[in-house]
């Protein structure tokens, strides 16, 4: 159960689950919805799989993810979304000024 709470505590992972409620998606399709690195997204998938909230099926090189949540887990997901558990703290406090872009590559 701890794994489920950990998985649902993150807004990105909850958003992944919300997207998967509509249809099964592969990693590429899911990545289009998030402005984060693919490696970070893969880590999120791993946590969701570990919590048994999604299942992955591999066809060739494409991994398709499908939702696999119990009734209570779905209710917990809806609750976490409503309450906004784990929202980034910068959304709750004053906005942090962004650094000026230097134009240099990292």
């Amino acid at each position: 159960m701890n794994l489920v709470f950990k998985a649902l505590s993150d807004p990105t992972r909850r958003q992944i689950l919300q997207l998967l409620r509509k249809k099964p998606m592969n990693a590429g399709e899911l990545a289009e919805h998030f402005p984060i690195a693919k490696s970070t997204l893969s880590a999120h998938f791993a946590i969701l799989r570990e919590a048994d909230l999604i299942e992955a099926s591999k066809s060739g090189t494409v991994i398709t993810y499908m939702l696999k949540v119990s009734v209570l887990e779905e209710a917990l997901l809806a609750f976490a979304e409503t309450v906004g558990i784990g929202l980034p703290s910068l959304l709750k406090t004053a906005p942090i000024p962004l650094k000026k872009a230097t134009g240099k590559a990292r």
């Binding site: 099964p24 099926s57 119990s70 009734v71 779905e74």
Partner: protein, 219 residues
């Protein structure tokens, strides 16, 4: 896809239940009625009441057997289904055997201090909790292929159908555990039967809806 151990236990219990019914019948002067509250009491009920738990268990077994016949899949998908159905069968067996033991004991004059209403409420609450548990786990069950094309659902349709059926089963369980004990016992049977029919109808309606809608996965 029923756990074999659970199946054998249930079959043995069923045979024991039938044997106990016939043994009780053999003690009766009139095979049409049995004493409801013990031999000395004038209150009698139809002898068919004795066979209701046997029929209930036979019906449950029939449903599980038809499921086994209708669906199949790889071994790793069948295993969780065997456990799930085995658990459902063992639970039904325990409930039906308890009901039968209670009926027999009452007709022989024992357990007079236990009220039928109290027993009915216990059955509603325990049954409701069990339905909530099984409904909760239903969406996690793996995809299986159907023997007939009409019943075939692709993994996505199956996933949607089980998520829906899980929620409906869970809601039914909540009503059974919380709502039914509040109703008069006489109303509980027609309400439960009506809701069971509605439960079956709504699941079939959803299955048809899911099959009609365009699917992101090819069938």
């Amino acid at each position: 896809m029923i756990d074999r151990k659970a199946l054998w236990i249930s079959l043995l219990v069923l045979i024991a239940m039938i044997a106990a019914d016939f043994w009780r019948l053999s003690l009766l002067p009139d095979w049409h009625y049995i004493p409801a509250e013990g031999p000395g009491n004038g209150h009698t009920i139809s002898v068919l009441v004795l066979f209701v738990p046997v029929l209930g268990l036979t019906f449950t077994m029939g449903v599980l057997f038809s499921r086994e016949w209708l669906r199949w899949g790889p071994e790793e998908a069948m295993q969780p289904w065997r456990r799930y159905n085995g658990l459902a069968l063992l639970f039904s067996t325990a409930m039906m055997a308890s009901a039968e033991a209670f009926n027999l004991a009452r007709s022989l004059g024992a357990l007079q201090s236990v009220s039928r209403i109290t027993l009915a409420h216990v059955i509603f609450v325990v049954g409701g909790i069990f339905m909530m548990l099984t409904g909760n786990m239903l969406p996690k069950m793996p995809w299986l292929s159907a023997r007939f094309r009409r019943a075939q659902l692709n993994p996505w349709q199956w996933n949607r159908q089980l998520r829906f059926a899980g929620k409906v089963t869970f809601a039914f369980g909540v009503f059974m555990a919380v709502g039914l004990p509040l109703l008069p016992v006489k109303m509980a049977i027609p309400v439960t039967l009506g809701l069971t029919l509605a439960f079956i109808a709504v699941n079939y309606w959803h299955r048809a809806k899911v099959k009609r809608e365009p699917s992101p996965i090819e069938s």
